[in-house]
């Protein structure tokens, strides 16, 4: 997931110019921005873009040092566990269950507003969520709510087909499945 495309998407979200994004000879993603400065590594690039951005998401992500640190943790988690883990049948199940549990009591990953942490995990887990059948999604209602909330924002879905979560409204008449 720490590929060129994801970095570009996040740059779009934040409304900053991505600069030149590429992989260096060690296959680490790098960004060459204004004044020809190059930064390497997914988390570092995200941080550099957050500083340039005036968007709500970016501002939220650097509001305090604590928030900043938590955001960084989630970005690392997204890169190290979510992206690779979502390709494994067993790990991905655990991931989904964990995130679903987390979102019982939280609307966003860090604090009470959208941050880069949400974006990083959103793009890392997107393919996995896409692969879920409607019935599977029923099992992860809280995660679905969070994902759906993010994908509805135009700057986040960026014109891609939106995943259908409408089946989760089934619970309005099939309440038995939601204990």
């Amino acid at each position: 997931m720490c590929d060129v495309a994801t970095v570009q998407k996040i740059a779009n979200c934040l409304g900053v110019s991505p600069g030149k994004i590429q992989l260096n000879e060690e296959q680490v993603v790098t960004r060459t921005g204004a004044q020809n400065k190059t930064v390497a590594g997914f988390a570092t690039i995200l941080e550099s873009m957050a500083r340039e951005s005036k968007s709500e998401t970016a501002q939220n992500s650097i509001v305090t040092q604590e928030v900043q640190a938590q955001v960084y943790q989630w970005i690392e988690f997204a890169v190290l566990y979510v992206a690779p883990g979502s390709k494994d049948k067993y790990v991905s199940k655990q991931l989904l269950a964990d995130f679903n549990k987390l979102f019982i009591s939280k609307s966003y990953l860090v604090g009470h507003f959208i941050t880069l942490a949400d974006l990083a995990v959103y793009y890392a887990i997107g393919d996995l969520i896409k692969s879920l059948s409607p019935v599977d999604k029923e099992n992860y209602l809280n995660l679905s709510r969070w994902f759906d909330h993010l994908q509805q924002r135009p700057e986040i879905h960026q014109g891609e087909t939106m995943l259908n979560f409408t089946t989760i409204y089934l619970h309005n008449w099939a309440t038995g499945t939601h204990i």
Binding site: S105, L141, R153
Partner: protein, 442 residues
């Protein structure tokens, strides 16, 4: 009151540019709607200085602007007037808060605003206001069940949406949130709100938005639910004087006794007891708030159980500490409904069981007079403190309202006679029905 400036980065010069003045008393949840909306839109709102509720809003000057004399009320910088909190909040909001460009979303915002006013507020007020002592307690009202229905509906709604309307915070969230503030502050203690996980998540999310925090500041979620305290209401009545609202008068007629008692007590003692009650965790004995006194229930109960009444009753009057303990006559209100004797006895023992935690600081002898289909229940009660003890704990409030409670003067001969009669299980009731059975609460 100092000027509350809504925008955090306010310089004195900007005050003159404010788009208006809001009249309200402090911590008015209705005013919060407007103040939070202004935080989002950046509208500059000045809260009127020196506003005194009940005075300022009754002044001729105020009534000229706002004929209903209600707050919050808003005066724009160019001299236009708005009343009704939802309208003020709408005026001070921005496009996002009003639901964006889509008429349907705007309508949804209206829907939730009405929901807050018509569904949430009535149940919230019916539950919380009596506990705050600003409204009499409604008998037989299923306030908790009514609230549950509304809260569950919200909880269900918020299972699969982050905000009430669309993907952004709108007035729908702000208005519904403000209407829930009292519930979350005073009665939805952790064990109760556990049933509303989605609603909690949403509530905490809204609460922690910087724009909301800027207005609410020290708001805390309920740790322990308030319990009804008749004293508080009596105090409130005393304070508001003769000009009372309709429901207040009704209450006066219904419970004149209780009010008098509350008035008799010295205010100092009241405050201490109130403070102690509020400060102490629920698990403690509610009687701890009262002075201990010299009367020892355990000793008396031992004497009563082991000795003849000829000995134990004089012992009672010898040891009784009238300053810190009180004697009451409790008479069942619905004697005409009593049928079988054994059922009536179950009624008494059932009440004793529910009052279990009171045992340590109370004693009672409750008697049944008469026979099947023609009987009465009454009893003499003794407990610590000078007030009706039952409101001290929610566990004790199940039965006491079906009894008339009459406080007895411990010095009078009549009381001595009554105590002797009930403690020795003898004599007749007022209408001459013979003693049938007695139950001792000890």
């Amino acid at each position: 009151m100092a000027i509350l400036l809504v925008s955090s980065s306010f310089s004195p010069a900007e005050i003159t540019m404010s788009t208006g003045t809001l009249y309200t008393y402090p911590e008015n949840f209705r005013a919060y709607k407007a103040l939070i909306a202004a935080q989002y839109s950046g509208a500059k709102v000045k809260v009127a200085e020196d506003f005194k509720f009940g005075e300022s809003n009754k002044s001729a000057e105020f009534l000229k602007k706002f004929p209903f004399g209600k707050v919050p009320a808003f005066e724009t910088a160019d001299g236009k007037y708005l009343s009704e909190s939802n309208a003020i909040a709408y005026y001070l909001a921005n496009e996002q808060l009003r639901g964006g460009k889509c008429p349907f979303a705007q309508a949804e915002v209206q829907q939730w605003t009405s929901f807050a006013d018509n569904e949430i507020l009535p149940v919230s007020c019916a539950w919380v206001f009596p506990l705050l002592g600003i409204m009499p307690q409604q008998k037989n009202a299923n306030v908790k069940q009514d609230a549950e229905v509304v809260l569950q509906r919200l909880n269900k709604k918020l299972l699969d949406v982050t905000y009430l309307v669309g993907e952004r915070i709108t007035l729908a969230d702000i208005v519904v949130f403000s209407s829930l503030l009292h519930l979350y502050q005073y009665v939805l203690e952790p064990s109760v709100r556990r049933d509303y996980v989605n609603l909690n998540r949403w509530f905490v999310t809204i609460l922690n938005q910087p724009q909301v925090q800027a207005v609410l500041k020290d708001y805390k979620l309920c740790e322990q639910a308030l319990v009804f305290d008749p004293k508080k209401y009596a105090e409130f009545q005393a304070k508001t004087g003769t000009k009372q609202q309709q429901p207040a008068k009704q209450k006066e007629e219904k419970k004149p006794k209780e009010k008098k008692e509350a008035k008799k007590e010295e205010p100092e003692e009241l405050d201490a007891a109130d403070a102690a009650l509020a400060a102490e965790p629920k698990s403690k004995d509610p009687f701890d708030a009262m002075p201990k006194g010299t009367f020892n229930f355990d000793d008396f109960k031992r004497v009563y159980s082991n000795e003849d009444e000829a000995k134990s009753i004089p012992y009672f009057f010898e040891k009784f500490d009238a300053e810190n303990y009180s004697i009451w006559l409790g008479s069942y209100k619905y004697n005409e409904e009593l049928s079988k004797v054994f059922m009536s006895c179950n009624l008494i023992t059932g009440m004793f069981q529910r009052l279990d935690k009171m045992r340590k600081q109370a004693f009672a002898s409750v008697c049944l007079f008469g026979e099947d289909n023609n009987s009465t229940i009454s009893g003499v009660w003794v407990w610590r403190g000078q007030e009706l003890a039952f409101p001290l704990s929610p566990d004790w409030q199940i039965d006491y309202e079906v009894y008339d409670w009459q406080k007895l003067d411990p010095k009078s001969e009549e009381t001595k006679k009554l105590v002797t009669q009930y403690f020795s299980w003898s004599g007749t009731d007022k209408d001459g029905r013979k003693f049938n059975q007695g139950k001792i609460f000890k």
